[in-house]
């Protein structure tokens, strides 16, 4: 904490407040309270404050985050996950598609710490290689849905009127599409089996949720007097949105987006399970979890490792979102 004392000395509040100042009969004006003792042009300002660097919400938030262990740990985990998603060969040299049926469902053994799955593939290698598809789906779908949802929802909340009505109705339509049925319809026409159609589908069905949250918190934020004050100063829509509304409306969006990230990775698994998501030879946690879940009593290790990796990923993102949200709230400092 950079501030030695979190609350300022109530300098302007007179210890014997103006009750005596209102006393009638002393002819002149009420005595000015202590705060008014400094008048304009009384002399040079104390030298101290001029030297301090001026700070803003973002610099304060970054200053806070760098010292927050929750942020550091979750950021480290995420960096690590992204790294192995890009270069799985760094920690797993094997081929995830090279399987030996003779070793099906065998447990841990030297060189294969996580054991083998039903097809006799090495679970460790598959878990490491599966990070790429799962992280790509999770991050890209969340980023896409959050960006689209918060921009559309935010603008709808800010401008209101017919744009808001139109957008909310469109969002309702997408809300009405059942995920599995929608997946069967949209994704069955795609034959590639790569992550991008799945990401696109999740963004398409995911943005209305974020957009509703964003719209709601923008509507709440824009009613505050400080937005009116900014407009009274002559601020344009851009400044009001970016400087005043966005920082005060972003918290719920961060929370929902980080939770959605886990849901999206699981959704990819569901879609793959139904056969419309990722298709072999693509390796993903989702595919492995669906395959393993039917064998949970024979070979729990098959489920444990990819599911554990998924849980750690989701947890890391939720903790990161939490830390960022807290850092952006000066009241918690």
């Amino acid at each position: 904490m950079p501030e030695p004392e979190p609350y300022p000395e109530p300098r302007a509040v007179d210890p014997q407040p103006a009750m005596d100042a209102i006393t009638p009969g002393d002819g002149g004006a009420m005595t000015l309270a202590t705060g008014d003792a400094r008048s304009l042009g009384e002399g040079p300002l104390p030298g101290g404050p001029g030297s301090a660097k001026s700070r803003s919400l973002w610099s304060d938030a970054w200053h806070d985050l760098r010292r927050n262990p929750v942020f550091l740990i979750s950021a480290l985990v995420i960096v690590f996950l992204v790294l192995i998603a890009i270069r799985p060969g760094l920690i797993a040299s094997g081929n995830p598609l090279q399987c030996d049926l003779a070793k099906a469902q065998e447990g841990s053994q030297p060189g294969h710490p996580f054991g083998f799955d039903t097809q006799g593939c090495d679970v460790y290698t598959r878990t490491v290689h599966g990070a790429r598809a799962s992280i790509a789906v999770g991050i890209c779908a969340t980023a896409g849905a959050t960006l689209l949802g918060s921009v559309l929802g935010g603008l709808a909340g800010f401008f209101g009127g017919w744009w808001d009505a139109l957008l909310s109705r469109i969002a309702d339509i997408f809300f009405g599409i059942p995920i599995i049925l929608g997946g069967l319809v949209f994704l069955s026409v795609v034959t590639s089996g790569s992550v991008w159609p799945v990401v696109g589908f999740i963004v398409l069905l995911g943005w209305p949720q974020i957009s509703r949250i964003a719209r709601g918190s923008v509507v709440t934020a824009k009613q505050n007097d400080y937005v009116q004050a900014a407009r009274a100063l002559g601020a344009g829509n851009r400044r009001m949105l970016l400087r005043h509304i966005a920082p005060n409306a972003v918290a719920p969006v961060i929370v929902v987006a980080t939770i959605a990230l886990g849901t999206y990775i699981a959704l990819e698994a569901t879609l793959s399970f139904v056969g419309v998501g990722l298709k072999p030879p693509t390796v993903s946690w989702g595919i492995d979890i669906s395959n393993a879940s039917v064998q949970i009593r024979n070979a729990p290790h098959m489920l444990l490792w990819p599911a554990g990796a998924l849980s750690i990923t989701v947890l890391a993102f939720i903790m990161l979102g939490d830390a960022v949200r807290d850092a952006l709230d000066p009241k918690l400092r």
């Binding site: 103006a18 209102i22 001029g50 001026s54």
Partner: protein, 375 residues
Amino acid sequence: MAETAENHEVSDVVPSTAETTAEVEAVLDAPVDRGEPILQVRNLVKHFPLTQGILFKKQIGAVKAVDGISFDLYKGETLGIVGESGCGKSTVAKLLMTLETATSGEVFYKGQDITRLSGRALKAVRRNIQMVFQDPYTSLNPRMTVGDIIGEPFDIHPEVAPKGDRRKRVQELLDVVGLNPEYINRYPHQFSGGQRQRIGIARGLALNPEVIICDEPVSALDVSVQAQVINLMGKLQDEFELSYVFIAHDLSIVRHISDRVGVMYLGKMAEIGTDSEIYDHPTHPYTQALLSAVPVPDPAAREGRDRIILTGDVPSPANPPSGCRFRTRCWKAQDKCAEEVPLLAVPEVFAGKKTLAAHESACHFAEERDVVHAA
């Protein structure tokens, strides 16, 4: 304005003696030189449409929040506007700031109608008309430092202060409103209500405006802090030659700070005049009723004074009474009041007479009744 200089006491709503005739004559004979009005409001109207339907909205009526208000604001003076909740005071403030678009009517700032301005021209006018808000807890962005809040006017109007100079200007402003300039990096939640309101005032002052619209600037504060903020505003007015439109529902505070006072009822101005004309010589029944409700600290005086208890509630502004808006609660109401809208003018009975009762009052049956000093 000379006559009001000695009235700077909150307590003088209930002065011990009424003026003698000689004093009144002296006041009336003094040349009233207010100069050119800086702000002229003419027939200002704001109706909020009431709509029905989700997709195809149909207007089924309108809330007549402000319904034809006219007044002038002169340089260096304070015009107080009083009235009960929902009478349209805050809407007037928003219209003067062009935060709401007027349904009709004009607001002239130095001869230029600002209600129809937009873009660059509006931005230029906004430099000169600023606002202090009612609630210091919502009028400051909780996620901006005090330095950013007070410095924002300079970001929006970069011509006012060169970039390298802004931080110093912000610290000067903090100093002017009686806050420690070292607080520049703190956030609003680290301040008390009174201190926050000082920050709001500093933001309003940043662009050196000529007019400041104060929308109940102290009603959210503790009574002990109210006096400090009011005094600060009085001091700043002298220092920077500001003109205030001071909106409040507290009659004592309005009298303390105002040179002239306007009384609003249900979107219309009921009575307007100098503070002693309104407080000591009210001619509109609504003003008399309002004044009779001011708490009197002296129990003996309280016993004997004239209490007017109004019956009924304020009618809905969506469906105001015909003729005089106050007639449904007025003890003087007659048929004429339902048929004719009384104009805001010096009533005929007082026209040409040398009395403080001869000021603008929108009543068919205006008569003087000193409710404050009645014993």
